[in-house]
Structure formats: structure tokens, C-alpha cells
């Protein structure tokens, strides 16, 4: 499948800010089932520098605006060829250590309710392998947290989402990560794009899911929000301990102005694209 991605993030401040700095995790890697054919990040006048590749294989670059700025847009466009690998991340160059992905952050903190949920979900599965256990935990997240827009916010933690019983892909991913950690399975947060939802409805925002480390297989993606493993409809951007660490764009503006953020994402299959 060839997917054309257009991703624009537009920032507007109600008064000019003195400067802005951002860390971009906007460069997808190529690996089995994901081949980046073309990719461009337009920074709208921001100075790009300090680029490096982290241990988890992500390319990170820094963009700065040192002059007063009121509005700008980060525009990502690219073409990626994908194939289904049943969620298994193969042939991706990274040097990270799975054991480092057993620690929790504020957003994946395992509270008592999460521990109970994990225990109950895995009851009778003591003999099962980690892959089956991960599947079970992912199903359990889908059941415990209903997909609902606008109920949670970017800072919502896994514990809060579970208590609420509602959330979006980010909350599903955090909750699955927390459950895996409790079960002693390394897990991390992945940000990326999704062509369409399982029910065929177009997905209009950036997507997120979890990756779980299974000995013998490596990192395996689990999209609890959609009850599946990532396939050819998914484009993987980058990973981190949680949504903050894996954020495609993390930034700070200097100044007291309030920020208005507008994100537009389209992920179109190339065939459809050509027909238009």
C-alpha cells in the first residue's frame, strides 16, 4: 500500500511571542513493511539544527525561531510504501534495551485499579507466553476504555482514563503500557499515522499505539483503540516512554501569549489519490 501523508500543525499566538523552540520527531524510519519513498518537513522559517538519532532509532531535530513570531505552520508531507507484518517491527535500526521500557512515567503510573485489572485479565494465564498475555491485555484495554473523543486531554494518565472508562488512542496506549509493565513486559508508546479506522471511517488525526517487547519476536505493535495490530494502514513515526516522550512535536514558546493549535492530518492511499 502506498500512503500519502499530509500533516500540518499550525500555531497562532494572540500576541507575538519572543521565540519558539521545538523538538521534532517527525522523520519516520524505513524497515520491513515501511519504506519511506519521499519525506519533507517544512518549518516555515524556523531554523533547523541539532539533529541526531536516538537509541530507539528516531531522528530528532530542533527548530528555533529567535525573532518575534505570531503564526507559523509545520508541514509534513511524504509518501510511504507499507506492508502488513502483523505488527512485528522488523529490520528497524535501533540500539535501545527493552529492559529500559519497564519503568513507568507520570502517565503510565500503575495505580491499584490498573494492578487489579492486570491481575484479573491474566488470571489462569500463568503458563501462557508473553504474546498471548499481551493480546489479552490489549483486549482488556479495549473493553475497559470506550473510544470517545473529547473526554480526556493530553495530560490524562492511564489511571485516570481507566477510572473514566473513556478515552482516545493515547489513553488506550498508556493503559496498555501500564498493564504490560505490571505484567513485567517491556512496552512503549508509538506515534504515527493511520489510514482509516477499522470500521472504514477516515481517521483525521495523528494516531498512537503501543509496542510491546516479546522475546524472540522483538517489538510488536498493539493498537488497543482499534483492537488490532498495526498493518499496512499504519505509518510509524517514533517511540518513547509515553506520549510526551514520543510526541512528534514538543515545543516551548517564550512569552505569555496564549496558543491556538490547529492540526490537520490526511493519510490517503496513493491509488485513490491518483484517481482524484
Amino acid at each position: 500500500m502506498k500512503l500519502r501523508i499530509e500533516h500540518e500543525t499550525r500555531y497562532r499566538f494572540d500576541a507575538p511571542v519572543r521565540g519558539v523552540i521545538q523538538a521534532h520527531r517527525l522523520w519516520p524510519g524505513s524497515f520491513e513493511g515501511q519504506n519511506v519513498l519521499s519525506w519533507k518537513v517544512d518549518t516555515d522559517g524556523g531554523v533547523v539544527g541539532a539533529s541526531y538519532c536516538d537509541a530507539a532509532g528516531d531522528r530528532i531535530s530542533t527548530v528555533t525561531w529567535r525573532t518575534p513570531v505570531e503564526e507559523f505552520a509545520i508541514t509534513v508531507s511524504g509518501l510511504v510504501e507499507t506492508a502488513d507484518t502483523s505488527g512485528v517491527l522488523r529490520g528497524f535500526k535501533e540500539r535501545s534495551v527493552p529492559a529500559a521500557y519497564l519503568r513507568h512515567t507520570q502517565q503510565t503510573y500503575p495505580d491499584a485499579a490498573l494492578r487489579t485489572l492486570c491481575e484479573e485479565a491474566l488470571e489462569g494465564m500463568e503458563e501462557a507466553g508473553p504474546l498471548d498475555r499481551a493480546h489479552k491485555l490489549a483486549a482488556c484495554v479495549a473493553e475497559a476504555i470506550e473510544y470517545a473523543l473529547g473526554e480526556t486531554e493530553p495530560h490524562t494518565t492511564a489511571a485516570e482514563a481507566l477510572a473514566l472508562g473513556k478515552g482516545v488512542c493515547q489513553d488506550h496506549a498508556h493503559t496498555l503500557i501500564a498493564l504490560c509493565h505490571i505484567a513485567g513486559i517491556p512496552a512503549r508508546y508509538v506515534s504515527g499515522y493511520l489510514h482509516a479506522r477499522e470500521d472504514g471511517a477516515p481517521h483525521e488525526a495523528s494516531h498512537a499505539w503501543a509496542e510491546v517487547f516479546i522475546g524472540g519476536l522483538g517489538w510488536v505493535g498493539f493498537d488497543a483503540a482499534n483492537g488490532c495490530c498495526p498493518d499496512e494502514r499504519y505509518v510509524r513515526l517514533g517511540s518513547g516512554l509515553d506520549s510526551l516522550y514520543a510526541a512528534p512535536i514538543r515545543g516551548i514558546a517564550s512569552g505569555a501569549a496564549s496558543e491556538d493549535l490547529n492540526v490537520r492530518v490526511t493519510v490517503a492511499a496513493q491509488e485513490q489519490f491518483q484517481q482524484q
Binding site: 539544527g49 541539532a50 530542533t62 540500539r95 529492559a99
Partner: protein, 475 residues
């Protein structure tokens, strides 16, 4: 362990054979000091410390930043031979700690070899995933290694803990000497004492030697402080001043493109090496704690892309917590193929069932410490604690065994210290500061802390500790 017999402490000035050689002249000195002079001198010393403004707490212990840490005028002395052995041991340890850091942020051979448990390293809060895979200039992570030592006999020293992040207190070492030389110039004529005043220069060349590859000129070094409300702020200003470099706060620096710049009246100046006295979590809100107002947004990206060097390297703390401490002798064997010159204090890890059992059965005789604690807080000194204090700790250990270690109560050596009635033995420890850059360097001596309360084994300034000038006799 039999605790019924009172412990016998090794006194560094007088053992069974009388006054030990290195202290002979000091013994004469205090005996012949005219009565009345001592009080005058003590007041003079205090006035000098106040005038200089050296009133900060040691080792980031918090407390009143205006409080003066008591200075005891009776020096602590090491012979050249004693120091030579300590020096070899400290350098060996500092090297192994740095090799460990290079290894765990790279391939993790020591973990793969099964010599250190993976969880202790990779699940450690101080292990920074963000710097995994990054090799800092000269492969040095910890540029100033503070190694806390205690002595229990003429030839018996133990390492109490390692400090690989930003050990403080070195300004005390320098000021103690300065003040002793001003007040008692004769002592320094009669005794051949190894100087320490070259430390700031050595620190500066250490920092300059780890400038990033992208730096093609004389490196610009700065000291990054969290600000004047920090308990060690005096030390930050002192070291910047002594090195002749700028003291900056986060807001004085900014990132643009590939580099970090300092705002100056003559326009932006590129910064190459940052000696930061700020914890990892605060140095870059774009990489670590997003709410930090103290750091420099984007600093980590510049660091990881080779545009600036941060000292100590972010992530260095994984080498110095109390759970990792147990494995330092193993690091020395693994990386250097040598036997440790300095011994660890035998340590029980409460996370291990057998150790825990022993600890819980012997709490009144042991010292229990929090793995992540510091400054003498969160610590139980069994023999000096009440039943209820001991029981409180028992509950804590049972609740979170992995968070605690325990050690036998050491018979810390004593050193003569001025008290109301003359001199009396008081327990001491030692923190030498080992510098690592292109080369490894150690200024003779270090900072001696003294527990001023009679019988107390806790030397921390927050718990009534003072400081002394530390002499290493020249050969």
C-alpha cells in the same frame, strides 16, 4: 557481630604507641598555643568565613543557606604514603565508574555478562533513555567524582559512597586551607603540606579537555547554576570566579541551530562546555521535565548532536546510587582486570531475601539507608536509635525492600577537634574530588567533615557536622 563490647575507635593522632608521626608537630602546636589565643583565632576564622560569604550547606542538604558551617581549626593529616594508596584507589574507582557509564549507555557488556542485574541499571530512575547510545567526548560521563571515604584503622579505609553527578563541597576544601594559611602561617612554614590551590585550574583544564568535536577554538566554559536560592550557590559563584569563567542561569543561555549561546552585552557567544550544577530532570524542559524553568530548552538536542558538552553527562547518576554501589568492586574487576584497592563497606541489599532476613533481625546494630536518599536523611543508625525509630524502619523496609540497603555500623576514626575544654576526639570522614577529562587528576586531600557532637557518627552538616582543613604531607 558482637555489640556488647564498646567499639574501639582508631584515633588518627594518638594510638597505643603515643602520638602518631604526622601529628607530632600539631600536638606541640596546640599544647603551646597560649590560652586565650584559641578563642580569638576561632572568632577570627568565623569572621573570615562570614566575610567571604561561605555559608552554604554541603552536598545539597538544603537547610538555611545563611547558616555558617562550623570550621574546626585542628587540621586532619595524612602521610604521603597513606595518601599515595588512597590516590591510587580513588583513581581506580573513578575510572571504573566512568567505564561502567560508557558501557551501560552503549552495549551493556557488564549486564550481558551477568555481573550486574539488568533491572538495577535499566530500571534505575537515573538511567536516561534519552542519552542511550551517545558517547560523550573522551568517553567521560562523570568529570568530577566525589568519593566518600571513612577510616577504621591505620591501614583500613572504606568507600562509603560515590558521587558521580555534581559533588559539592570543594570550595570548603579550598577555603579551609586559605583560612588556615592566613591564621597560622607558621604551621605552613614548619610543615611541608601538599598544596590544593591549583584545583580551580585543574577543573578548568578538565572541562576544556572535553570540549565537543565541533569546537574548533579555545573552548568557552560556563558554570550553570539553578540560582541564588540554591544551597550551594556560593560554591557555584566561587568556582566560576576561581576558574575565570562566566556563571550563568538557564535564562542566560539559548539554543539556535546547532549550538548553545550565552547572551552578552556584546551579542551572543557560543558556549562549548557547561559545568552544570543542576539535576538532569531540570536541564532541558524539551527533553526532561516540561515544567522546569531552570534549564535551557533544546540543550539536550545540541548535546546529543555534538554541539556542546554537559558536565557531568546527563545520566551519570546511574553509577552512584546505593544499589549500584555494591557492584563497584565488580566493575573494577570487569573493566580494569584489577582488584579494588579501596574496599566497599559490606552491604546488605534488602531486596534480596537472605539479606533482608538478616537486616530485619539485626536492625539495632546496623545502619540502614534509602537507596536514593542523601544528606543523612532517611537513614537509621541502629545503635543510636530508639525502639520506635527502629520499628518505623522495619515497616519501611518490609513495605519497599528494594529501596533500602544496610551496613554494619562502622567504627569511624576520630581526629582531635577543638572543644570547650581543649581538644577531644570526634569522628571524621573524607571526600576527595577526582577530576576526569583527557587525563585523571586528584588534588591531595579533599574535604574532611567532622561530627562535632560527642559520640556522633553522622558528619553531615545538616546534622551538626563541621569541616576541617585536610593535609597531605609532602614526601
Amino acid at each position: 557481630m558482637n555489640t556488647k563490647t564498646p567499639p574501639v575507635y582508631f584515633d588518627e593522632m594518638s594510638d597505643t604507641g603515643g602520638i602518631r608521626a604526622p601529628y607530632k608537630r600539631l600536638d606541640d602546636w596546640h599544647r603551646t598555643m597560649p590560652s586565650g589565643i584559641r578563642n580569638i583565632k576561632q572568632h577570627e576564622a568565623e569572621a573570615l568565613f562570614r566575610r567571604i560569604g561561605i555559608t552554604f550547606a554541603v552536598y545539597g542538604e538544603g537547610g538555611d543557606p545563611e547558616r555558617l558551617i562550623p570550621f574546626d581549626m585542628f587540621p586532619r593529616v595524612f602521610t604521603f604514603g597513606e595518601w599515595r594508596k588512597l590516590e591510587r584507589g580513588i583513581k581506580q574507582r573513578a575510572q571504573a565508574l566512568n567505564m561502567f557509564l560508557s558501557d551501560v549507555y552503549d552495549r551493556g557488556e557488564i549486564v550481558k555478562a551477568g555481573r550486574i542485574p539488568a533491572d538495577l541499571v535499566y530500571r534505575n530512575e537515573a538511567f536516561e533513555i534519552a542519552v542511550h547510545g551517545f558517547r560523550p567526548p573522551k568517553s567521560v560521563f562523570s568529570h568530577i567524582v566525589g568519593i566518600d571515604l571513612v577510616r577504621t584503622g591505620p591501614d583500613q579505609f572504606y568507600v562509603l559512597e560515590d558521587n558521580c553527578r555534581t559533588p559539592s563541597g570543594v570550595s570548603y576544601m579550598l577555603e579551609n586551607r586559605e583560612i588556615m594559611m592566613r591564621m597560622f602561617p607558621d604551621l605552613f612554614v614548619k610543615n611541608r603540606i601538599a598544596p590544593v590551590d591549583h584545583y580551580p585550574n585543574a577543573l578548568k583544564s578538565t572541562l576544556a579537555s572535553v570540549a565537543p568535536q565541533k569546537c574548533d577554538h579555545e573552548p568557552r566554559v560556563v558554570v550553570l547554576t539553578p540560582g541564588h536560592f540554591n544551597s550551594a550557590y556560593y560554591e557555584h559563584t566561587f568556582l566560576a570566579d576561581m576558574m575565570g569563567v562566566e556563571l550563568v542561569e538557564g535564562q542566560d543561555l539559548f539554543v539556535e541551530g546547532d549550538f548553545v549561546y550565552m547572551k552578552t552585552t556584546e551579542g551572543p557567544k557560543k558556549v562549548d562546555v557547561i559545568y552544570r550544577r543542576l539535576d538532569d530532570a531540570f536541564i532541558d524542559p524539551l527533553c526532561f521535565r516540561p515544567d522546569s524553568m531552570l534549564g535551557v530548552p533544546g540543550l539536550m538536542s545540541v548535546y546529543l548532536s555534538g554541539g556542546v558538552t554537559i558536565c557531568s553527562a546527563p545520566g551519570a547518576g546511574v553509577a552512584d546510587d546505593k544499589a549500584i554501589y555494591v557492584y563497584v568492586p565488580e566493575m573494577i574487576r570487569f573493566y580494569l582486570g584489577e582488584e579494588p584497592i579501596l574496599e566497599n563497606v559490606p552491604t546488605f541489599q534488602c531486596g534480596k531475601a537472605d539479606d533482608r532476613k538478616y537486616v530485619l533481625e539485626n536492625l539495632p546494630e546496623l545502619v540502614v539507608k534509602e537507596v536514593h536518599g542523601s544528606g543523612g536523611y532517611g537513614m537509621l543508625v541502629g545503635p543510636k536509635s530508639s525502639k520506635s525509630q527502629i520499628e518505623a524502619f522495619r515497616a519501611k523496609i518490609e513495605d519497599n525492600p528494594g529501596g533500602y540497603i544496610a551496613q554494619p555500623t562502622l567504627a569511624l576514626s576520630t581526629c582531635p577537634t577543638f572543644v570547650e575544654e581543649g581538644i577531644a576526639p570526634r569522628h571524621v570522614d573524607l571526600r576527595p574530588y577526582c577530576l576526569m577529562g583527557e587525563k585523571i587528576e586528584l588534588v591531595p586531600g579533599g574535604l574532611t567533615r567532622v561530627a562535632l557532637t560527642e559520640g556522633s557518627l553522622v558528619v553531615n552538616s545538616s546534622q551538626g557536622g563541621g569541616v576541617k582543613d585536610t593535609w597531605v604531607m609532602a614526601e
